[in-house]
Symmetry: C2
Subunit: 208 residues, 2 copies
Amino acid sequence: MGRPHTPLLDRDRIADAALKLTDRRGDFTILDLSRALKVTPAALYHHVHGRDGIIALMRERMARTVDASGFGQLPWDQALRQWAISYRDTFAAHPGAIGMLAAEPVADPAVHALYEQAATALEDAGFPRHMVLAVITAVESFVLGSALDLAAPPAMVTGIDAATTPRLAQAAAAAPPGRARADQAFGLGLDALITGLHHQLSQTGDNP
Amino acid sequence: MGRPHTPLLDRDRIADAALKLTDRRGDFTILDLSRALKVTPAALYHHVHGRDGIIALMRERMARTVDASGFGQLPWDQALRQWAISYRDTFAAHPGAIGMLAAEPVADPAVHALYEQAATALEDAGFPRHMVLAVITAVESFVLGSALDLAAPPAMVTGIDAATTPRLAQAAAAAPPGRARADQAFGLGLDALITGLHHQLSQTGDNP
DNA sequence: ACCTGAACACCGTTCAAGT
DNA sequence: ACCTGAACACCGTTCAAGT
């Protein structure tokens, strides 16, 4: 009882346990979390700003695993591609958590630093200044949407009735199975998006 | 007390009120909803499968406002574009509800019918059968991600420190303000995506 | 069939007390 | 500073009773 000689909790342990719980059930409860950490629910509130604070912590933790090292080192399109793939991979590693984490953006200094690098790379590549944010946003939107698709495939691919929707049924039969379906859609979309961005860049006319 | 002569509730009224509440607060409570409908919380359960059932109802209702009439009438790229824009507009009309609704797909016969038309149009346009689902999914993912961007703009655009991230600050200053920022990103991304899909179609070599 | 009133299990959060 | 035990307000859901 009372304060322990060595602290039982810290923010990292809390975020870890919450992520693990959410991976399994798609959600987490303060009570379950406290049980997993062998602690009273009230103990958590000495380290974290409530349940929302824990979710924010999970987001920050995941954001830090995204590889954005390509910006400034690789050509803009390769860097953008690498970032998008790593971004989605991060979500793919925690499918159960996607629904809870994807809906809101991360607020983290490290994320701002990443955007700085990305903005610099895109402007240096010749994208006009007023388009830079839009390019980054478009790619990020596609990544987030693809993460949702990974977590909860659309009605399109489940419960198809071959009698009423034969062409859809054929298309579904021809598509790769399981996880490969989402991977194919992401790869195809990312290719298209970057090809299209290339095209737009070549039309602005002020690239070096 | 007891059963009223004329029913006080129906599924449409419930979905409407829930959508209105969620628009305002980003969420809704069974108690608040029952108050808005001037009914006891328990009354709702005679019409709807709990809170999740109400959310599903909201999704179906919104899905029905999406205009997919272009498939089979317009060229595939124009139809796809019209669908994507209408899809996003539907979310844009209920910004507060996006976070709650976008995370999971709609399960509705009408949605299957739409996919049937889209799959038919894309295959007829020359897309190989195994790619059809991926094309639709890629566009849908982009729309869903763009809806999230509409509801909760990324850290990129809020709380930028010009001292530590000057290029990002410049890019943000050059971007359109408010809602126009999200619109620009969506438009740019949709253009790029469709340009890229055109490119991929021309490379498959079996288009008519 | 459709509503009310009362009850239930569960949830996140607060706070005094203890070391 | 960091944890426990107890308490609190709130939530979704169930169900017998009433017409």
